[in-house]
Assembly symmetry: none
Homo-oligomer: 401 residues x 2
């Protein structure tokens, strides 16, 4: 029996409110061994007060040593096993441009490339064309018609694009056409199973027509396809947890991930203040709110230790507006670590803070990695975080008599 | 490979003795955040001495955030995955009145109710009749004969009863007849699979006859059926662990749970002193003894912080009689937490103390939740506790060469 099957059985409805505040890439590393991490360096009096009255811990997003992307990182926080529910690259790219993927859609990440007169790839990124050129080419490709299929072509950034085929019954298992090197022709789209043969045929027809459309557009006179897939079939928050969920996220990718689990995606504005205002306005309409804060990750990716510290202090300053609403359970955590020392996502466990009236408090009095290691939640798989949230909200019946 | 399959392979017999002392609902919460729990408040010099020479930890009975009932809580302590082995409500109720359920038995929890002349339920608990009335009605129902089936009807308390059908080959998968509300008739007993069709038919015949028997007995002129099930098929302690096990428990439910895993259930008397005397008398006859102490849970359920503290001190006072027997491994733990602040079972991890000559001692010098969080056993699923016990008793071979 999976934990989701168990939660479906045990879910209990009440009037409690749960807030999940995700500081993207929250976990960090000291600049020098023995020093303090970004979170430990930041002055965070509000988070420290929450840490004192709540309980801390460290979550493992996927498995020990595994660095998650944003997709698996968030699925884990949402309580979905990221090894069971996989999100294809094409799907994530579509979510990242706010494309509302439906159950009949196959999403594909495209890369504009340069081919020579023999059809051989000479540049896998088409000389890194500007976004304006990419956008214009996508508009041309979007005009291609294929019988019985809706086709959508959307620019992402520079040489990157998204292609979506929409038709009932399309399978999503088709191999990449990107050969991952120059000096060879793009591969044919080959189905990985019988249910995806039609998808492969559509892709082949689309590529043939696209080659005609783009033939005068060197350096971007063709494109390769990667991460061809449908969105995974994911049970909703309502089904599994009995929650009416909302998402307040500024960046499209996170809105898309929230939509995957059928959250209501609210207009988040542009700033943390906008997000707090939205939270206040929507407070009575939902049981669960996911708020996403991007800048702890982007400063980490930039290798900007001081910048990440500052962004954490900005986040801390927003906490009183959230606690003023008196959520029954407030969780502050990240989807993964992004140490500025590494300039990338990392595999390190992620700080977790859970504040609720009936939590078993530990000795921790500030929010940081070393304190979290001493915390009462211990180290646990991120997929159980929602279970802990529901438990502290009184939303689970006893298991067995 | 499950841990049970592994233990069957690795089990080793020797002369060691293991005692598992379960203080029901052991874990707690402080009355005020930052305060001490019941266990931390209690003066427990003997347990503290054990904690100093042993190793502490915290166990998770089922999964993080899941509150267990007594059944799953104990199965976990006995080393059985409580998500794999499930115990139906009817079975637990039968165990709770010391009914010796066999493998051919289907057990049903019954609730006397009141129906009107149209057969519509007007009171789901028959005006909460006294236990004496319930007992008399059960004696009448116990006379009902059904061809090819042994029928047992036993009172539990007030409006609650247990019905057992005994016949070879009966399936246990039949839906409740309790509609969970008044103003409607009881439901028909419907089989959930083909193997349980005969059970459903028997239940229908029994209900028809019972309606005749009870027709003059308003307010208790009928009953509903819930939690219809057979006892799960559970491998024995002898098979999995190579242990000759005994149980010394005052309350029937815990004797029943011990019987489920084929422990020898000894006469426990009424008090902890009686239990200790029984332990001493039986010391040479068994390898493993489960002792159950109820009052830490019942005081917790009553919201009686001081009472739970006192019961813990009484338990502590009994420790020297147990240690005087020099068990090779002594484990003191609970099946779940019952914080008096919550007046119910809870999802919080459960304190564990394991004392043995070869344990890797930690820095802990008293038995309490905060110390357990720092303990050498860490936080671990309760189902591995038996493995730890066997290991410390030298009862497991090396795995692989």
């Amino acid at each position: 029996m999976t934990h989701h099957e168990l939660l479906r059985e045990l879910q209990l409805k009440n009037k409690s409110k749960i807030v999940l505040l995700v500081a993207d890439g929250l976990g960090g590393l000291p600049q020098q061994p023995g020093g303090k991490t970004e979170l430990e360096t930041a002055r965070t009096p509000n988070l420290d007060a929450l840490a004192t009255r709540g309980v801390l811990g460290l979550s493992t997003p996927v498995l020990p040593g595994i660095t998650p992307g944003s997709g698996p990182g968030h699925l884990g926080l949402f309580g979905y096993d990221p090894l069971e529910f996989r999100i294809g690259r094409g799907v994530l790219e579509a979510l990242g441009i706010d494309f509302d993927l439906g159950p009949d859609d196959v999403a594909i990440r495209g890369n504009f490339c340069t081919i020579d007169s023999q059809g051989i790839i000479t540049d896998r990124r088409a000389g890194r064309i500007g976004s304006d050129i990419g956008k214009a080419l996508c508009q041309k490709l979007d005009q291609i018609k294929i019988l019985g299929v809706e086709v959508f072509v959307r620019p992402v950034k520079e040489y990157r694009l998204v292609i979506v085929f929409r038709a009932a019954g399309l399978g999503g298992a088709v191999h990449d056409t990107d050969p991952q090197k120059t000096g060879v022709a793009p591969l044919d789209p080959v189905a990985r199973n019988a249910a995806s043969q039609r998808t492969a045929d559509i892709a082949r027809e689309f590529l043939a027509k696209a080659r005609e459309v783009l033939k005068g557009d060197a350096p971007a006179n063709f494109f390769t396809m990667r991460g061809i897939d449908k969105r995974p079939s994911i049970p909703t928050f309502e089904e599994v947890y009995g929650l009416r969920p909302a998402a307040i996220a500024v960046y499209p990718m996170y809105r898309g991930l929230a939509r995957l689990v059928s959250m209501n995606v609210l207009d988040a504005g542009q700033t943390l203040a906008d997000q707090c205002a939205r939270l206040e306005a929507a407070w009575n309409d939902f049981d669960f709110v996911f708020m996403h804060y991007k800048y702890t990750d982007s400063t980490g990716e930039d290798g900007n230790f001081a910048g990440k510290v500052q962004r954490l202090e900005e986040l801390d300053a927003a906490i009183p507006r959230i606690t003023a609403l008196k959520p029954d359970v407030l969780i502050v955590t990240g989807d993964h670590s992004t140490p500025s020392k590494m300039k990338s996502h990392s595999f390190h466990p992620v700080p977790v803070l859970l504040a609720a009236d009936n939590c078993r408090t530990d000795a921790c009095t500030s929010f940081g990695e070393a304190q979290c290691l001493q915390g009462g939640l211990g180290q646990f798989p991120a997929k159980y975080l929602m279970t802990l949230g529901l438990a502290h909200a009184g939303r689970l019946e006893k298991y067995g008599a």
